[in-house]
Symmetry: C2
Subunit: 455 residues, 2 copies
């Protein structure tokens, strides 16, 4: 058997590859007896160990069989997987804006890539638990870290046992729906993100749109409705940015007292840059009627795809009975790594850095927006994005398209509206942009509004 070997590369791999190729190509076939280890090592002028390693590799992958005291024989191989190298086909791409005021961006230059490499290196190690599907409610250690974090950051007293980990708000909401019967009525803020995602509202006869005022969701309208569970975003209402006042929070909690539930989505509660601090609903809920939802998408990265909720005791009991067979959708790899990231203190550092950084960007955005004549900021105390009114005769889709033509991405607020927002409102996020892109992007918007730039 002739094998061509290159002395500069691993010899056993070359022997393994050469014989494997001869088997795959059919040059040697089922039943063929390979040279003995001694014979091949003499022929190739390599050590017996080298040949032995190559034969071992071929054997464990199923290409050959060893018969003791007889020799090595080629197996039938049509059942073996052989993946040809792939051509890198690419999907058809969409135009993406150069200056993207996306409300879901994160600052990529601040993401601790090297720390994550280290965390994964230290997490992935021979460990049986890493090869199991894990707890349906999510990794216990991680739930424990989250409970600890919520106490310190949001004043919420909770334990690992009250927390369920999942993969995004939609998935949490899906679990919730399964806990209630099918004629339960869900209330959503209008405008609110639920109206922009068919997932929340597909069962439209069981959904109710509740209007807002400057203090947040209108509890007087909620009282008049037949809503059983109401989803709110009190920290910064999405998409208007309105901070729910403390008195409105108590009104809302009061509404829930008669067997109703509030879902508090605290999606950017970590980021409060101005105005008076307001407590989370969950932290002032004495009646155990608040379902609290949080996520690592804003404060770390949406790429982790980890979100969580705290369930009231009565609902957790139903969950424990009904969801025994439903696995947590998050990889144990990711959950372990995130748990370590928090435990080793990196998360604390990261979130404090991000608060500083985003606070500076927030100030920059606000001062620039105030300088644009045709733009009115709806809520200066908003969190990670601004909702603005634009003075233009174009409708919201036309204006957003025109902006995109000039490289600027903005989101019309009426995408999240059910009963129709009359005014010309847009959502402008800033967390994923650097300062100079914020400047240029807003300058372009200014030019479009003042008609210095046309189609």
């Amino acid at each position: 058997m002739y094998l061509e070997l290159n002395p500069d590369e691993h010899l056993y791999i070359q022997i393994y590859e050469s014989i494997k190729n001869k088997i795959i190509s059919g040059e040697i076939s089922e039943g063929f007896k390979l040279p003995s280890i001694r014979a091949l090592s003499g022929e190739c002028l390599v050590s017996k160990n080298t040949v032995s390693n190559a034969y071992y590799q071929l054997e464990i992958e199923g290409y050959i069989s060893a018969i003791e005291k007889v020799g090595f024989f080629v197996n039938k191989t049509d059942h073996l997987v052989q993946l040809p190298s792939q051509t890198d086909a690419l999907p058809t791409t969409q135009i993406s804006p150069i200056y993207n005021f996306s409300y879901s961006g994160v600052d990529s230059s601040s993401f601790p890539f090297s720390i994550w490499k280290r965390v994964f290196r230290e997490t992935i190690d021979y460990d049986e638990t890493l090869l199991k599907q894990g707890d349906p409610k999510g990794l216990y250690e991680l739930r424990n870290s989250i409970a600890n974090y919520l106490y310190n950051s949001r004043g919420i007293q909770t334990t690992a046992d009250d927390i369920i980990i999942s993969a995004g708000t939609e998935h949490l909401f899906y679990l919730l729906r399964r806990l209630f019967n099918s004629d339960t009525v869900y209330g959503f803020e209008d405008p609110g993100y639920a109206w922009g995602n068919e997932f929340f509202t597909y069962d439209i006869e069981h959904c109710s749109a509740i209007p807002l005022d400057d203090s947040g969701i209108r509890v007087d309208e909620l009282v008049k409705s037949n809503v059983d569970i109401c989803l709110v975003t009190p920290a910064h209402q999405f998409p208007t940015g309105i901070v729910m006042t403390t008195s409105r929070r108590y009104e809302l909690l009061n509404w829930a007292k008669s067997g109703r539930y509030i879902i508090e989505d605290d999606y950017d509660g970590d980021f409060k840059f101005s105005g008076r601090p307001t407590p989370s609903l969950k932290s002032i809920d004495s009646n155990d009627s608040v379902i609290y939802m949080g996520s690592f998408s804003k404060c770390l990265t949406p790429a982790l795809r980890i979100s969580y909720m705290i369930l009231p005791k009565d609902l957790m009991q139903i969950y424990n009975e009904a969801f025994s067979g439903f696995g947590c959708p998050c990889s144990v790899f990711i959950q372990s790594a995130l748990s370590k990231f928090i435990k080793d203190g990196y998360f604390e550092k990261h979130i404090n850095r991000m608060r500083q950084l985003y606070s500076k960007k927030h100030m920059k955005m606000l001062s620039l927006l105030k300088g644009i004549k045709g733009i009115k900021v709806q809520e200066p105390h908003s969190g990670t994005s601004f909702s603005v009114e634009v003075d233009t005769e174009l409708n919201s889709n036309e204006f957003a398209k025109l902006a995109l033509k000039h490289g600027v991405g903005i989101t019309p607020v009426d995408r999240f509206s059910h009963n129709g927002v009359k005014r010309n409102m847009y959502l402008l996020g800033f967390t994923g942009m650097d300062t100079s892109d914020i400047e240029t992007g807003l300058q372009i918007l200014d030019d479009i509004i003042s008609k210095k730039r046309r189609i």
Copy 2:
């Protein structure tokens, strides 16, 4: 300001930590002016750079502010996150068997931990796409790799565009349910895993139990039913292990021709150790009525929590319209790493190794099981687990409990049965066990059956 420094550790970190602690403890408070960089460097006998680095770290985390040409001042810090170190509370544990014939185990000693470390190290790098939520259908590259794999391993011709990635069979099934209207009737094999998981069958009036015979699901019974979509496990029926015969496959495909769908769950299709090779339903489906489901749980590890399905063209069109707002539950980190693992050839090697290894364990199990007088193997050609009948007067729960008392974990088949399996059947997996544990575990079962061991 007195700082105690240890010359053997990073000096800037010590300065940063000392000042941070003074701020947190309240020793120095809001408005306190820190010594200048020059002054502190002289005082501590360290370079100005060292002090400057420490101040920079304190500044970006929000503990202090720099005012140009004036100095460094302590900020108000009650808004900063400070996570105390956690006590490692542990959840209450269940008794886990020493000899666990679990049907969902994988061989942990063969899992390539060091390759995964490397793959993560090489994947996680400054890359904007890693910080985004990603394609709702899953990472394009990974879908492309899966299409390539299915063609080579299972004879299925498909493309990335036809594939949706999700996090477990339940999640895939959930997506499917949303594509059909609410009066659709689902057929499940009886026994079958759906009957063991309330998730599949909670809407019981829209579920139908279809019995089996030795060739697989009974299509004559299916024809008599009002089922619209039927879930089957043709490679090795779960839990009986029966391989669906080729003629039964064509009968089933024929049933689907009039606008019905078949869900083919190929959960262990990668592992066929004996008997004639049978094509996947999807590969012989000329009518585009098969929804194919696969996963990396058996062939790699359930810890990844990655599964996927191929949708027929008509269903994919509905999906594209209905699920625009529903994010893929899998972390982009995991998807990128898995894609690289496949692309770099590690998956091919791994699966061939596992086939060899599991094939040996399969042979071992079969020969040992045949030697036990009170045990009858139902299907010798089964895949990664055996379904066996045990000669005992105990009922299945009693017998499983008794086995557990002696350290052996087995699963009663009637857990997956709807209309009741009369016989005393158990599911015995072997993929997660080493050979000596298989021997000991089966010896214990033998002793229990022959009453050498009692309670």
